[in-house]
Amino acid sequence: MNFVESDERLALRKAVSDLGRRYGHDYYITKAREGAHTTELWQEAGKLGYLGVNVPEEYGGGGGGIGDLAAVCEELSAAGCPLLMMVVSPAICATIIARFGTDAQKREWLPRFADGSVVMAFGITEPDAGSNSHKIVTTGRRDGGDWVLSGQKVFISGVDGADAVLIVGRTEDARTGRLKPALYIVPTDAKGFTWQKIDMDMISPDRQYTLFLDDVRLPADALVGSEDAALAQLFAGLNPERIMAASFATGIGRLAMNKATEYAKTRTVWGTPIGAHQGLAHPLADAHINIELARLMTQKAAALYDAGNDMAAGEAANMAKYAAGEAAAKAADQALQTHGGNGMASEYGLGALVLAARVGRIAPVSREMILNFVAQHSLGLPKSY
């Protein structure tokens, strides 16, 4: 058993952190408020291979694992630049294509995931199905050699800056006539594909969209991998998603803690730095402990996933995501509290952090659904739904 990351992983963290801090939280918030993207950072990180650490070497990637990608995500978050599309593009989409795509799909997409020159969004959530893949109504039907895709998706991140969207739909099973999941790569310029921004109170350069697929005609090779293995393919992408969401959250938690401790050390009232008072010191210490525990579970989940143990990784990834969401939300709340009135001032960026940290309790799967999962699968309790 080893609780210390490798020298290479630590060197990667340091390098990514140096890059992220050169941009910093002010850069991220400014881009978000301007309605712009963090393209410069994405491209620079991409060129350095940081966004493609998990892509196989034969396609120009780093040949590392989700643990490496999660380290990149966490360090950028902690440096003030939580790149939401990292959770989606290299973690979900590149993983699914690398593991299940056809050779042609791998050749087309993986080299561009390797250097970050392609961004692929991921569309699963639907207005009436949430993320329940069995209730999804977006449907692909065969028409000659083509696929024709129709449906609607909601809360899809970053479509405006993406080259394509990996859409989770369903298609009719030729034998049984029942609908089964199917994954389609839909270019964002496909005819019949439109999207609409959802106004959010979050301050993020990666915005949320409702997607409309209106008889979108796609070539036969838009279907990822095999028509019969889609459920396995989907789950292969969702464990990395949870691990990345956990890293995204612990990074935000660390960012909040840095802001809080810096303020608590320097802000002096009645001759004493406010951090000397246990009323502030203890909640911050508690928040730090919870972030470290969540990081440990996240690293465990990534290690299990990278060792090929999908089943054990699933449980650990869900627990890590839960723990990270809770730890980040509490850390951000306490960081804001530590700042008093300044915590509410835009200049300190803590209001934005509180809401960004809060995402970890909701997405990509709510904490209630994780508690259901743990209650049923880890504890063997009866199902409520």
Binding site: D7, A11, G64
Partner: protein, 261 residues
């Protein structure tokens, strides 16, 4: 195809609190995060740019304790090819002259070097004398404080910049160069660079390997001794100006008094 040796040094991170050990006034290495000195990153970057344009090989050389390996790995992950690490406990407390002698011997183990690149001064010792001493010991021309370097097969041209102004220098190879902060912006190590670094050869040498006797080096044999040290006094509080409609002109007055405008 120039064969380049880059001198690197591990220093306490300038962001952390830097202290001298109370017992012997040498650097307290345990009290701060250790990093590759930023000016050395620029020296490595310059060597890599020359290599990318002209081919050749880049060797990094450091004198330092065991943990200086981390600074070597950083340079290797940026793209240097191999490293020489002189590590010997008897060097604890070595002064600049001793260090220059050790470096000169260690450079002798790199066959057929054309160019030695160093930072102009470290952020910890701030001696700024190593490049010149080294050139003297090796009998090579020195071109210090470079902000621009050009080399062809046989000579090197340097644009030198100091507070006194700019000078344009030329010398035959091999030569010693030191670079200033304006030379370039060092690259971040790529993921592939980080992964490749662990496979690159690092030769570790003791002073005995270099034919140096322990009685010639270390704190006890240094040419000068530090008798006393005191931390820098904290910076005095700044002057606060309350803006009563004349804040702008008060700031301007201050800047004029400091001869900044």
């Amino acid at each position: 195809m120039p064969n380049i040796v880059v001198l690197v040094k591990q220093v306490p991170d300038t962001y952390s609190e830097r202290k001298l050990a109370s017992a012997d006034h040498t650097l307290d290495r345990a009290s701060a995060d250790a990093v590759l000195d930023e000016i050395n990153e620029r020296a490595v970057e310059e060597a890599l740019q020359i290599k990318e344009a002209q081919g050749g090989e880049v060797t990094v050389l450091t004198v330092g304790p065991e943990r200086a390996t981390d600074a070597i790995r950083k340079a290797l992950s940026m793209g240097a090819d191999k490293a020489v690490h002189v590590s010997d406990e008897s060097l604890h407390g070595a002064d600049i002259i001793q260090t220059a002698k050790v470096l000169a011997k260690a450079i002798g183990t790199v066959e057929g070097y054309d160019l030695i690149i160093a930072g102009n001064e470290s952020t910890d010792g701030v001696g700024g004398a190593i490049p010149a001493m080294l050139a003297e010991l090796l009998g090579l021309p020195q071109l210090t404080h470079a902000r621009k370097v050009e080399i062809d097969g046989t000579s090197v041209k340097v644009e030198r910049e100091t507070d006194a102004g700019r000078t344009f220098l030329e010398a035959a190879l091999p030569a010693v160069i030191s670079v200033g902060e304006k030379i370039n912006d060092p690259r971040y190590p790529s993921f592939k660079g980080i992964m490749a670094a662990k496979k690159k050869p690092v030769t570790t040498l003791t002073i005995a390997d270099l034919g140096i006797d322990a009685s010639e080096v270390g704190l006890a044999n240094a040419a000068s001794q530090v008798l006393e040290s005191a931390p820098k006094p904290p910076r005095a509080a700044g002057q606060q100006i309350t803006d009563e409609g004349d804040g702008g002109s008060k700031i301007a007055e201050y800047l004029v008094s400091q001869k900044l405008i």
